[in-house]
Symmetry: C2
Subunit: 157 residues, 2 copies
DNA sequence: CGGATAATCTGGAACTAGTCAACTAAGCGC
DNA sequence: GCGCTTAGTTGACTAGTTCCAGATTATCCG
């Protein structure tokens, strides 16, 4: 929020290098877009990147997102019914709340202390390495406008 | 497993009627397919239905699945990276384990007692009505063949 | 600094899951 | 059985994403 662009730029470049990735304009752009707009989908990212860099191919965006995901620099989430979304918050096990009306995604700190959800009980031989929790419901905005009815056409990101 | 086809057939017909749905061959077929193959995707369902009924349009299958989901007769799950899957187990809050390798889905009883994960903490105004938990990992089969089958290079996690 | 090398990027085509719309066929209450 | 209403058929179409082949470009290493 308060970080100037070129400082962020340098910081991201360092992050890329730290993960063994080459530093390229699209990559910086993609990460910057995600820093600014968490939970953005590929298309939103592409548009944001183009706004700051000019022409960038869709494939480049997908490719970068894929590379970043592989490198664990971004995390890919895919709530049912919406295209894949990406976020730069990695390494902590936070979860997500998704609005059924408008699809907006919000982070939730794993309320419980010791990852209570990570123990699936009898695993039928599965080796579990991650527990993903998605809370479904209605966001404040939609919940309100639902009572008031009509209007709303989603603007939140 | 032990239930003969026409008994299942009748039982499903009753279930459909109980939910105010007309009884049609494709609908019976779809539910039967899901009883036999839980967590099947639309395509798998379509193929199974066609095997027993002959020609059934893809659209019909989607339509039926949609109707059944609406009527809460089946539940739709959508693990990231795979097409939508359906199951007839509804009404209990079990969760799923998904294999990263082969995509197979297994049911998990909600191990915890009082749905520990259902409390997202500060909800930012969200009204949560469902918590969906997905455990990601490697199924027994893939886990075994991974160690045995050598080759598989990737190791970094 | 100046290649050599391999990773990236481009543009377009293709593929999969799923939707829409207009029409026909079938279920079921009378 | 009759006919209203809901289902199913067909076929074109969209969104999201991936694949392919060739042009670019960042890094490595001397």
């Amino acid at each position: 929020m308060g970080v100037p662009d070129d400082q962020l730029h340098a910081e991201i470049a360092a992050r890329l290098r730290a993960h063994g990735l080459r530093v390229t304009a699209p990559r910086i752009g993609v990460v910057m877009a995600l820093e600014r707009t968490p939970h953005a989908d590929a298309d939103t990212v592409a548009r944001q990147v183009r706004k700051s860099l000019g022409a960038v191919s869709t494939q480049a965006v997908y490719d970068v997102l894929h590379a970043l995901t592989e490198a664990r620099l971004v995390r890919r989430i895919e709530p049912a019914g919406s295209p894949a979304r990406y976020e730069t918050r990695v390494g902590d096990n936070h979860h997500h709340m998704v609005c059924r009306e408008c699809g907006v995604v919000a982070d939730v700190e794993c309320a419980g202390e010791a990852v209570p959800c990570l123990n699936p009980g009898p695993t039928h031989g599965f080796v579990v390495d991650e527990a993903e929790v998605t809370f479904w419901g209605t966001c404040a905005r939609c919940h309100t406008s639902e009572s008031t009815e009509t209007s709303l056409i989603k603007e939140n990101g």
